[in-house]
């Protein structure tokens, strides 16, 4: 016979201020099968837990109901206490008297009555709980890092340095990401490439890291510790082993008019190319979309000049099938491009550029070798205007969020300009200066005070060209909303940071949730910032939201630690609160009729088909089977099952029914 122990917690005054805890304990104590009902000020404290442990032994309890807060925080605490008291942890339930009752109602008899009702449902439920054993799953100790920007690089190196294997996938021909495009970095103005390229080389040379560039994730199946990932290695049209990286093919390629992605379209590249001189790997790829041979069927100049005969025009894409234990998503971000801002003239006038284009202009390896020269005629601009928040914090443009990095990089841009063009004038239109970060505000002050950058607080309404000059019309809200008009030679827009192209597609392949802006969603905004809602998949860098290099690197290391912690176990333990399809002896096998409606609604692809065969191998029945490793216990299949063949451990139909009946019945 059931012997239930009920422990009513005051939660300091959180519960007892509105609920009469004494009366709750007393009333519940009179119920059938309740062996003990008691109250305590802090049930989660050490003495509170000891109370539970000792009561289990003393009263030989078969079930425990802790009537306290939401199970979100303390269910593991009390389950552990029960286990230590000798009770199977899954025979412990929590009645939520705080969030569901005391916090949302005023003090009074009705509130106490509701509390009693809540506890009663759990007492009835726990009687039907069964002792469950945790599920064990094996772990493949190889991590996959998707994206080879600074976040991916940091994560990969950190994981690799703990001794585990890492496979890095990068869709462009080189790793390095946006950081490789930057000139100098705030707030120290150290050269971006100088601090990045050694780390890129480290990735390529690390014995634990396998690097696949020009490769994309094709599909992801499986679950934490046991992912099966298909990767498409796009054909580089090159035998990488034979190629020495001499670059002769690049210089001889007759097609030289393709906008250079790395230079943000401000330079040209040939069809066979290496994105930038420090690229890793430093081997070219053929851009088949633009290559004359692939378009017209003849040319092959690269093949003719290659001293090692490394060109392979007929090379097919290759599909790699990889066994992966954990995935770090580090696919980065992009910035808003043309047509987003017709009133700012971007895309219409050549001398209106975006922040990344300015980085290339300011970079020593850029199209102007680091001299600030405007794209239209190569002149050095005497008057330059930077517009912060071009799209960000502008719900009318569909982007309500702050892109976070623009205040700082705009200050840096203005500073770099002043350092290179001493007699020039730099103006910045801004909404607010958001410079939270170590040495960040000091950096902005330096731009204002030492480099005399003219900060104007206000928005720009329009930018247009007149007589070869750019007219920037805006407002100075610190001067009583005075209209301001600046005649500029060049305008730089700090356009909003947005999710990278393909982010949505990848999120769907990974079964990871994402927000309305297509940024990947973390499992908890504060306490689980690197986890996703899919176990074993972690986030690093700007794929989550726009962030600067220090933040991206910190998060990348955080994700690496999560992976290392996962790989420190030989097998994983999962809560056994999963769905199960019933099984009976032959000839029934199961009440499941094999309609597989459950399979189509399962959000975790956890439902498989199981065949029952006779001894001679003839299939007599096909029914659904739950993969315990994948099932998250959401219960969708249970609700949908037409023959009531599926049930959820810990939340069976019968248990839920009993809870409802407890509320309907008098006590």
């Amino acid at each position: 016979m059931a012997r239930i122990g009920v422990f009513v917690c005051h939660c300091g005054e959180n519960i007892s201020a509105t609920v009469d805890c004494g009366k709750v304990a007393e009333t519940i104590g009179k119920l059938k099968h309740v062996a003990l009902s008691t109250e305590y000020k802090y049930m989660c404290s050490d003495p509170g837990q000891t109370l539970i442990k000792e009561a289990i032994k003393e009263h030989n309890l078969t079930g425990v109901v802790v009537s306290a807060c939401s199970p979100r925080m303390h269910e593991p605490t009390f389950r552990k206490a029960c286990a230590e008291g000798g009770l199977n942890p899954f025979l412990c339930e929590m009645a939520n008297l705080r969030e569901h009752c005391s916090w949302v109602h005023d003090k009074g008899d009705l509130t106490t009555e509701k509390a009693i009702d809540i506890v009663r449902t759990q007492v009835e439920k726990v009687k039907l709980n069964s002792a469950l054993q945790p599920i064990k799953v094996p772990v493949t100790k190889t991590a996959m890092v998707i994206g080879g920007g600074i976040a991916g690089i940091q994560s990969a190196l950190d994981i690799a340095n703990t001794g585990h294997k890492v496979i890095m996938i990068e869709r462009s021909p080189s790793i390095g990401g946006h950081m490789s495009q930057l000139s100098e970095t705030f707030p120290t103005l150290d050269c971006s490439q100088c601090i990045l390229t050694p780390r890129m080389v480290e990735v390529a040379q690390h014995p634990n890291i396998t690097l696949y560039t020009y490769a994309e994730v094709e599909s992801v199946e499986g679950f934490i510790g046991n992912f099966k990932v298909k990767v498409r290695k796009k054909a580089k049209s090159l035998d990488e082993k034979a190629c020495t990286g001499c670059g002769l093919c690049i210089t001889k390629c007759p097609q030289k008019k393709i906008p250079n992605e790395f230079e943000q379209g401000m330079g040209m590249r040939p069809s066979i190319y290496v994105p930038f001189p420090q690229a890793v790997p430093n081997r070219p790829v053929i851009d088949r979309e633009h290559c004359t041979y692939y378009i017209k069927g003849k040319c092959k100049v690269c093949e003719i000049v290659c001293p090692t005969k490394a060109i392979r025009f007929d090379q097919p894409d290759e599909i790699l099938e990889l066994e992966i234990g954990a995935i770090v998503v580090a696919t980065g971000f992009d910035i808003k491009h043309a047509d987003f801002f017709p009133e700012y003239g971007y895309g219409k006038y050549k001398d209106i550029i975006d922040g990344l284009q300015f980085e290339r202009l300011a970079s020593a390896s850029g199209p102007t070798s680091g001299e600030i020269r405007r794209p239209s005629d190569g002149q050095v601009p005497k008057n330059i205007v930077f517009i912060a928040c071009a799209g960000s914090r502008d719900p009318a443009k569909g982007i309500a969020y702050c892109s976070k990095i623009c205040c700082m990089y705009t200050a840096k841009h203005a500073m770099l300009y002043k350092h290179k063009v001493h007699e020039g004038r730099a103006h910045i239109f801004y909404m607010d200066i958001r410079s939270g970060g170590k040495n960040y505000d000091e950096f902005v002050r330096r731009a204002i005070e030492e480099d005399h950058v003219n900060y104007i607080r206000g928005r720009v309404s329009t930018v247009f060209e007149r007589d070869g000059k750019l007219i920037v019309k805006g407002v100075d809200t610190l001067l009583g909303a005075q209209p301001v008009e600046i005649v500029a030679d060049m305008v730089v827009l700090a356009t909003a940071g947005v999710a990278n192209s393909g982010a949505e597609d990848l999120a769907q392949k990974l079964h990871v949730s994402y927000d309305s802006h297509k940024f990947f969603a973390e499992a908890h905004p504060k306490l689980k910032p690197v986890e996703t809602n899919t176990a074993g998949i972690f986030l690093a860098g700007a794929c989550q939201n726009p962030k600067d290099i220090p933040d991206a690197v910190s998060q990348a290391s955080g994700a690496a630690v999560k992976v290392a912690a996962l790989f420190s176990q030989s097998e994983l333990t999962r809560e056994p609160l999963v769905a199960v399809v019933n099984r009976y002896a032959p000839p029934f096998y199961s009440t499941c009729v094999g309609c597989f409606l459950c399979q189509s609604v399962c959000p975790y692809q956890a439902i498989e088909r199981e065949d029952f065969k006779t001894r001679d191998g003839k299939v007599v029945k096909t029914v659904a089977k739950i993969n315990e490793g994948l099932c998250q216990g959401c219960g969708t299949c249970v609700a949908l099952c037409r023959s009531k063949s599926i049930d959820l451990y810990g939340y069976s139909n019968n248990q839920v029914y009993t809870e409802v009946m407890a509320l309907l019945n008098e006590y």
Partner: protein, 281 residues
């Protein structure tokens, strides 16, 4: 097919030229109009500054009359009337309680089913498809297309063209052979209703709009709003006095420009009614 037309006050008064050109175009393209019977004032700027219910009831009555007369599509050439009608339809659509209240006020059944077209949308839908065969004199001029405020804003309600750098009129003009100049003053304020009370403000604002069009070598400013037209055309002497200039650039309704391109006589499309002489043919 029969459309409803809502002329509003201006098309029967100061913008008779506009009205004549709209009707001339309709006739030339075989399109039939029926004026909404017993139409009333749209409320313009006055009503919605004074009384919200009134500002919705006036346009709602117009729309209800159109519905009663089975006019599924209504063309509203005046940008201000267009704005009031669309805003009313929008407000009453999202608030059924208010819709019932307004129905009570106007003592008429209002469903909100009429399609409201501004003049450019109407041209786009019914004139452009038949235009090519009709053009006899391509409009070979450089033009500055001036949209003003109410044709494209508020963006969320009208959902017509992009609010800051609209294109529809430029596209229409290029279809009749014109070359639209890159014109940043497209949606700058002309002074609107200050036309009556503060001509100095209108002179200042409209002057800038004209100056930039002249500076960019435009042969004409093209408009689709009676208020814009009267500020840029009728107030030209005040503008020239204020800025000490002698701007002569004509201001032409988009319907007049199309009329010229298909060979309609200047008289018929109201070109003789302008204050600034139209030396374009």
């Amino acid at each position: 097919m029969k459309f409803g037309i809502y002329p509003g006050c201006s098309l029967t008064g100061s913008a008779r030229d506009y009205n004549e050109s709209v009707f001339a175009l309709a006739e030339a393209f075989g399109l039939d109009f029926e004026q909404i019977p017993d139409w009333n004032c749209c409320g313009a700027t006055a009503a919605h500054n004074l009384n919200k219910e009134l500002s919705l009831a006036l346009p709602a009555r117009i729309l209800a009359l159109a519905e009663k007369n089975s006019l599924e599509e209504i063309i509203v050439p005046c940008a201000a009337c267009y704005s009031r009608l669309v805003v009313t339809q929008h407000e009453l659509k999202k608030n059924p309680e208010l819709k019932n209240r307004i129905s009570e006020v106007i003592e008429m059944d209002y469903r909100g089913t009429s399609q409201i077209l501004n003049v450019i949308a109407w041209i786009d839908k019914y004139i452009i498809p038949k235009l090519d065969d009709k053009i006899v004199k391509p409009f070979n001029y450089k033009v500055a297309c001036y949209y003003g405020c109410l044709l494209v804003r508020p963006d969320k309600v009208l959902n017509y063209d992009r609010p800051e750098d609209p294109q529809t009129m430029d596209i229409v003009m290029s279809k009749i052979g014109a070359t639209p100049v890159d014109y940043p003053y497209k949606t700058e304020c002309c002074g609107a209703g200050f036309s009556i009370s503060r001509t100095d403000i209108v002179s200042k604002l409209s002057g800038k709009i004209i100056e930039d069009a002249e500076h960019r070598g435009a042969d004409a400013i093209i408009v689709a709003c009676p208020m814009c037209h009267s500020n840029l055309d009728m107030r030209r002497p005040d503008i020239n006095k204020y800025w000490k200039t002698e701007y002569k650039i004509p201001v032409i309704f988009v319907t007049q420009a199309i009329g010229l391109a298909i060979g309609l006589p200047a008289q018929k499309i109201g070109l003789k009614r302008h204050f600034v002489e139209v030396n374009i043919s």
